[in-house]
C-alpha cells in the first residue's frame, strides 16, 4: 500500500451562520457571546485517507460539504474537531481565480502565486514560458488579469497549479469552465500527473470524469462520507442519492456485486503499441482491458465484455471473453486482450463500455466507461458509419 499523503481523521466542521456573527464590536456587546447562534455542520466525522498516486473523485449533491472538505484538506479552513495531515506541496484550484489580483498582469500573478506555493523565483523564471504557453495567453500575459474572461482566468490558474510540480493537486469544479480543447489538455495533464505518481483529489459534478479518470470515488452527502471505493460504485451510489440512476418508471438497475475493478481500457493499432486511440477503417484494433480481481471474502470468476458505443451510447458492436476463458477467481492483476482484425468503417469518436459479469450467474460485478477511447476518421459526412456509395446524377 502506498503511504498516505492525505489523512483526515474524525473531521467535523461547524459553521456559524453569518447573521449571528459579531463582526462589529457594538454587535458583540449588544448581543453577547453565543446569543442567537445558529450552527450548521458542513462536515461530520469524516475519515479520509488518500495514498500516494491515487486519483480521487469527490462527488455529491450540491451543498453536501465537498468544497468544505477540500478546503479543510487544503489547510485553508480549520476543522472544528478532528485532525488533518497532508504531506508535500499542495496546489489548490478552489473556485475561480485561485488568488489572483486583478490589478496585476498575468505575468505578475504567476510570480505571486508561485511564491505563495513556495516556489523560488529562479524556478518561476525557468517555468514561465511553459506556463504561458499552456495557458494559451500569449501576449495577453502582460495585461492586468481583470481584463481576462473567466475561461482565461481558469486557464492561467490551472497552468500555474500544474507547473509548480505539486505533490498534491486539489481541484474544485473548475475544469468545466474552459473550452473543450482546453478541457482535453487539462485531462491529458492530469493523466500525466497520474503516471508521475502524484496525488489528485477533485470535486466534480461530471460523473463520467470520475469513472474515466479516478482510481477511487468518494461520495459525500449531508456532511458525511456515504461511500468510499470503486469509482463506478461511487457514481452508482450518487445516482441513487440523486434519483437519477434510472429513468422515471424504469425498473431499478441491477446492483453491482463488486470484487473486481477495471483499471484501464486501451485501444492501439498494434499489440502493445502506443495507445493513440486513433484509427482508420481497416486498421487492426488491439483492445487491452486491465482488471484487478480483489482479494476478499468472496472472489468470483468474471466474464469481461466490451461494448463500443457511438454518440448517445448507441452500441455499435460488442466483444466478450468466451465462456470459461474469463478472469479466474484468483486475486491479481489481469490483462484481457481483444484483437479485431480490421476496424469497421466507423466515423467519429466512440465510447468503450467495459462490464464484468459473474461467469456463472451472469450478475454484473463492475462496469466502467471510457469516453472517446476510439477515434476513427473515415469520412467527413455525419453518421456512425461511413458507407461507400455510387452516386450518379442524370437528367430525368
Amino acid at each position: 500500500m502506498a503511504q498516505p499523503v492525505i489523512s483526515a481523521r474524525g473531521v467535523s466542521k461547524r459553521f456559524l451562520t453569518h447573521s449571528s456573527k459579531a463582526t462589529q464590536l457594538k454587535e458583540r456587546f449588544v448581543k453577547g457571546r453565543g446569543l442567537g447562534t445558529e450552527e450548521f455542520w458542513a462536515l461530520q466525522d469524516v475519515d479520509v485517507t488518500v495514498g500516494e498516486g491515487e486519483t480521487v473523485g469527490l462527488i455529491g449533491p450540491n451543498g453536501a460539504g465537498k468544497s468544505t472538505l477540500l478546503k479543510v484538506l487544503a489547510g485553508i479552513l480549520r476543522p472544528t474537531s478532528g485532525e488533518v495531515q497532508v504531506e508535500g506541496r499542495i496546489a489548490s484550484l478552489l473556485e475561480l481565480g485561485a488568488g489572483f489580483n486583478g490589478e496585476l498582469t498575468g505575468r505578475e500573478n504567476v510570480y505571486l502565486n508561485a511564491a505563495l506555493l513556495g516556489l523560488p523565483k529562479r524556478e518561476v523564471d525557468r517555468l514561465l514560458d511553459s506556463i504561458v504557453a499552456f495557458s494559451e495567453q500569449g501576449p495577453r500575459i502582460d495585461e492586468p488579469v481583470k481584463h481576462y474572461s473567466s475561461g482565461e482566468y481558469v486557464k492561467l490558474a490551472f497552468s500555474i497549479a500544474v507547473h509548480v510540480d505539486p505533490d498534491v493537486l486539489l481541484i474544485d469544479e473548475v475544469l468545466a469552465v474552459g473550452d473543450e480543447a482546453f478541457a482535453r489538455k487539462c485531462l491529458a495533464k492530469i493523466e500525466e500527473f497520474q503516471r508521475a505518481g502524484k496525488t489528485i483529489l477533485f470535486v466534480t459534478h461530471s460523473l463520467d470524469l470520475v469513472t474515466e479518470l479516478c482510481t477511487r470515488g468518494i461520495v459525500v452527502d449531508h456532511g458525511r462520507v456515504q461511500y468510499d471505493g470503486d469509482p463506478a460504485f461511487a457514481v452508482g451510489t450518487l445516482r441513487k442519492i440523486l434519483g437519477t440512476d434510472r429513468p422515471v418508471g424504469a425498473p431499478a438497475a441491477p446492483t453491482l456485486m463488486g470484487g473486481i475493478t477495471v483499471r484501464a481500457a486501451v485501444a492501439a493499432t498494434t499489440r502493445g503499441g502506443p495507445a493513440s486511440g486513433r484509427f482508420r477503417a481497416g486498421d487492426p484494433l488491439h483492445l487491452r482491458v486491465e482488471c484487478d480481481v480483489l482479494p476478499g471474502d468472496e472472489v468470483y470468476p468474471g466474464e469481461v465484455g466490451v461494448v463500443v458505443m457511438g454518440a448517445g451510447d448507441i452500441p455499435v458492436f460488442a466483444l466478450r471473453t468466451p465462456p470459461g476463458a474469463g478472469l479466474p477467481a484468483v486475486p491479481g492483476h489481469y490483462c484481457v486482450e481483444f484483437v479485431v482484425e480490421a476496424v469497421p468503417p466507423l466515423n467519429g469518436a466512440f465510447i468503450l463500455g467495459v462490464q464484468v459479469d459473474h461467469a456463472e450467474t451472469g450478475l454484473p460485478i463492475t462496469a466502467r466507461r471510457f469516453d472517446d477511447a476510439i477515434w476513427v476518421e473515415t469520412g467527413t459526412l455525419p453518421g456512425l458509419l461511413d458507407v461507400p456509395a455510387k452516386v450518379t446524377v442524370t437528367q430525368a
Partner: protein, 301 residues
C-alpha cells in the same frame, strides 16, 4: 499503469514532500518581497508620477509644519526643518506600517480563502511596504538637509540603526496584532486610524521632548520622566532626531536652550533598551494572538 514501487526513490520523494510542505508553511523572504512588490504596483498603478507620490506626502507635511512653526510662530531653533523631518518620517513610517498591516488580511481575502500559505506574511508585507517607502524618503530628505547646509555626518548618525530596528520591531508587533483583530472586528482599522491622530502628539515631533521634561520637573516628578519613553515611538522619534539633528543646544535671547532632551548617547541607548523589551513582549503576545485567530480567517472573511 502500475502502482509506484515502494523503493528508495519513493523514500526520497517522501522526504522531499515534507521539505516542500515546510516551504509552503514557513515565512520566506521571497514571498514577502513578492507581496510588498504587489502592494507597491497596485498602489501606484496607472498614476503618472507613480512613486513620486510617496515622497509628496511627507514633503508637503514638512513644508506646512515648517511654515507654521518657523514663520507663523517665531522659532529661534536653528535648522528646525531637519528636526521636524526626522520625527515626521519616523512616525509616518510607523503610521503607514500599522495602518497597512491592519487591513492586510482583510484586503487579501482572495488569497486567504483560496491558497494555503503562512498568513503571518500579510501583516509583515504591510510593514515591509512602509519600510520600502521610508527607504526612498530618507535619502531625498537627507539631501534636502544637505542642501540647506546641515551636516549630519558623524557618530550620532549610527543611532539610526538601532532606532530603525526598534521602529521595525514595534510596527511589526502592533501590525500583527491589529491585522488579526481586524478580521473578527472590522472596527479595529478605524480605531487604529483615530488612535494614530492622538499618538502623533504623544511623540516629540512638533514640540521638543525638553518641553515635556520641563513639565515633569515643574510638577516635581523629575524622576518619572522615563514614563514618557514607555511609548517606544517616542524613543524612535527622539533617537532619529538625535541622529540627524546635530545642534542640541542653541541660544535664545542669550539663554542656552535645548531642543533635544539629551546630547549624549547613553540616554538614548537606555530608552532603546526599554523600547526593545516592550516591543519584544508585544510581538510575542501579537504572534500568539495571530496564531490563535488565523485558523478562522478564511471563515471570517
Amino acid at each position: 499503469m502500475s502502482a509506484p514501487a515502494e523503493s528508495a526513490p519513493s523514500q526520497d520523494r517522501a522526504a522531499l514532500a515534507r521539505a516542500r510542505a515546510a516551504a509552503q508553511g514557513s515565512i520566506r523572504w521571497e514571498l514577502l518581497s513578492q507581496l510588498v512588490r504587489k502592494d507597491l504596483k497596485v498602489k501606484y498603478q496607472g498614476s503618472v508620477l507613480g512613486f513620486v507620490w510617496s515622497l509628496a506626502n511627507p514633503l508637503f507635511q514638512l513644508g506646512i509644519y515648517y511654515v507654521i512653526f518657523t514663520k507663523v510662530f517665531t522659532n529661534p531653533a536653528p535648522d528646525f526643518h531637519v528636526y521636524l523631518m526626522a520625527g515626521l518620517l519616523a512616525f509616518g513610517a510607523f503610521n503607514t506600517a500599522v495602518a497597512g498591516a491592519s487591513t492586510s488580511v482583510v484586503g487579501n481575502a482572495g488569497l486567504v480563502k483560496k491558497v494555503r500559505f503562512p498568513l503571518l506574511v500579510l501583516p509583515l508585507s504591510g510593514v515591509g511596504f512602509a519600510m520600502v517607502q521610508l527607504g526612498l524618503q530618507m535619502p531625498v530628505l537627507l539631501v534636502i538637509a544637505l542642501i540647506s547646509g546641515v551636516n549630519f555626518f558623524g557618530p550620532p548618525l549610527l543611532l539610526l540603526v538601532p532606532a530603525l530596528a526598534l521602529l521595525v520591531l514595534f510596527s511589526t508587533a502592533l501590525g500583527v496584532l491589529v491585522a488579526a483583530l481586524n478580521v473578527r472586528y472590522r472596527d479595529t482599522s478605524h480605531f487604529v486610524e483615530l488612535s494614530m491622530l492622538i499618538w502623533f502628539w504623544l511623540n516629540p515631533i512638533l514640540y521638543p521632548a525638553q518641553l515635556v521634561k520641563t513639565a515633569f520637573d515643574r510638577a516635581g516628578l523629575s524622576d518619572w520622566f522615563w514614563l514618557y519613553f514607555l511609548n517606544p515611538m517616542a524613543t524612535v522619534v527622539s533617537t532619529f532626531q538625535r541622529a540627524v539633528y546635530q545642534t542640541p543646544t542653541y541660544l535664545d535671547q542669550g539663554v542656552s536652550k535645548d531642543l533635544l532632551v539629551d546630547g549624549g548617547y547613553v540616554y538614548y541607548l537606555r530608552n532603546l533598551a526599554i523600547g526593545f523589551v516592550l516591543a519584544g513582549l508585544l510581538l510575542l503576545f501579537a504572534r500568539r494572538t495571530f496564531t490563535r485567530l488565523q485558523a478562522d480567517f478564511a471563515e471570517d472573511l
